[in-house]
Symmetry: C2
Subunit: 318 residues, 2 copies
């Protein structure tokens, strides 16, 4: 495809580059007939502006770096997908990297991005050495769900306790008295602890903890032990695990939520299809993505923390 430039377009339209520029941008200051002629010509010749030149001139761009890792999991993917959609909606474009581990290539990558990319969104965890690299780079970094202490980055943090607390309060209101937790994920541990501390007096439940991996099969496998514990409510570290238990319950004619209430974590798309539909704690994906856009549009340059609350979603399992 031939690329035609502004200058060529101006010559062909027998006018100046400035007028073409005006016409194309819909600015005032061009005669109506001339404007129409220019527009017609541009569309016939398939004029497409060169963004490299524009960005060079404007010293900014609408390309946003997205550093991601951890492709394996559903939620991470939904976050990434949501972010990409949102960026596109606002006419930004995501430059994706899967975050190579070694500092050398990360550094090379940022180097290559500079001049193209003013903002880099970092999704999830990263090793400390890589994080240090950020300070040397010209881009501004927006860290999502990353607790690490870094100068000059905006951090969007997720408070896992809020949703968990609401979930527990819901259980208490429904007369539940003995809560189990199954899983082994530190962030859930912390969230649950904080939620428990914030529970009003008289709303405390008995608590029992089953340490376990947190996948589908683990939820299935923990069934007997869990039921033997006398718990009448259970919080699973992941929805996958909760779903596994739901299957176990279905097989063994355990009634949910009558015999035991179940809460998961993540708001996995499968939840609504489960029998019964799984109550869960949802990540504030939309809120975070909105904030990312906001930071970019405001041309944020100084770091700052923003905390987002998780939300309890009450479905059929509680």
């Amino acid at each position: 495809m031939a690329r035609i430039t502004l200058k060529e377009l101006a010559e062909l339209a027998h006018t100046s580059i400035r007028s073409v520029n005006r016409a194309l941008k819909g600015e005032s200051g061009v005669g109506e007939d001339r404007r129409a002629a220019i527009l017609k010509l541009a569309s016939e010749l398939g004029y497409v502006p060169n963004v490299a030149a524009r960005n060079l001139r404007l010293r900014r761009s609408n390309f946003v770096g997205v550093l991601s890792s951890n492709y394996g999991n559903n939620i991470h993917l939904r976050k990434l997908y949501g972010l990409v959609r949102k960026l596109e909606e606002h006419a930004y474009f995501p430059l994706l990297s899967v975050a190579p581990g070694d500092v050398e290539s990360v550094s090379r990558m940022f180097r290559e991005w500079s001049g193209f990319v003013n903002y880099v969104v970092v999704l999830g965890g990263l090793r400390p050495q890589v994080l240090e690299e950020f300070e040397k780079m010209p881009q501004h970094f927006i860290l999502v769900d990353n607790e690490m202490d870094t100068a000059n980055c905006s951090r969007l943090l997720i408070d896992r306790s809020t949703g968990i607390k609401d979930g527990i309060l819901h259980l208490a209101r429904n007369g539940r008295s003995r809560l189990a937790r199954c899983g082994n994920i530190p962030s859930r541990e912390a969230g649950l602890r904080k939620a428990f501390e914030e529970l009003p007096e008289g709303r405390k439940l008995d608590f029992v903890y089953f340490k376990s991996k947190a996948d589908f099969e683990d939820g299935w496998a923990i069934g007997p032990e869990l039921m033997a514990s006398g718990a009448d409510a259970v919080f699973f570290d992941t929805d996958r695990m909760a779903l596994g238990f739901l299957k176990y319950a279905w097989k063994n004619r355990i009634r949910i939520p009558e015999d035991i209430s179940v809460i998961g974590f993540d708001d996995d798309p499968m939840d609504t299809q489960a029998c019964p539909a799984l109550s869960t704690v949802a990540h504030p994906i939309d809120e975070i993505n909105d904030k990312i856009i906001e930071l970019i549009e405001q041309r944020a340059e100084n770091g700052g923390d923003f905390v987002f609350a998780t939300k309890f979603i009450n479905r059929e399992s509680t």
Copy 2:
């Protein structure tokens, strides 16, 4: 972060922009002491070249557009991930888009990419109107697994029959005589038909077809009907579906592969964890990604078709 330019660097080093450029690129033609001084200064000041300027000057870039859709499925995701990794390995960077449906935004997107992006990789299906848009755009398009007829695009096509044929031959060699197929995916239908046609005489199997959706539950649900059919081998349109049947078989003490051999399609990561590990037909992901890199490095400009064979992977279920 302060951005320092080549020119400023040259001034600070009391030399010319040309020498700094030489030193930074490791070219010959700079005195050793001067080179060392420049390099030291550059690293101290954190010099990072501006890629927009470089691309403008060179009229090319190492940014590659990736147009994707269909985020939901595992295989698609693996393709995307593999591509991103491979691109990064070769010092290209993927500009990701989730392929908005309407022509208007696709067109706007390409416009925004022009001057940045010389190549666009299109993963999977796309509506025809969007495809038409390609011809007007300055980028070169590389279509992956997309049969649509478009001028001036490189097309990387997947021959689904090769792997299926090898699978069937394997079944025949193992004395299987009656093959069932379950699913409803047209590309599998075509692949299976072609595979059957190419089968040598004396290797033909009886054939029975069960039309069905092709998800996990469908594989589970079709179990009774399938076993009643007398088939001693079965091809599922997707691994998910095959996995569902494996679960059914396990529950019902059907021995695999003794009672019935099972072949899936997709090479889902879960396959190796299944009991028994699932034999399947794998997409030529690596080969395709290698070809993409090759096309880009060769600066391909004219369309052309390249067909890639799928591969049968023999695991425990056959």
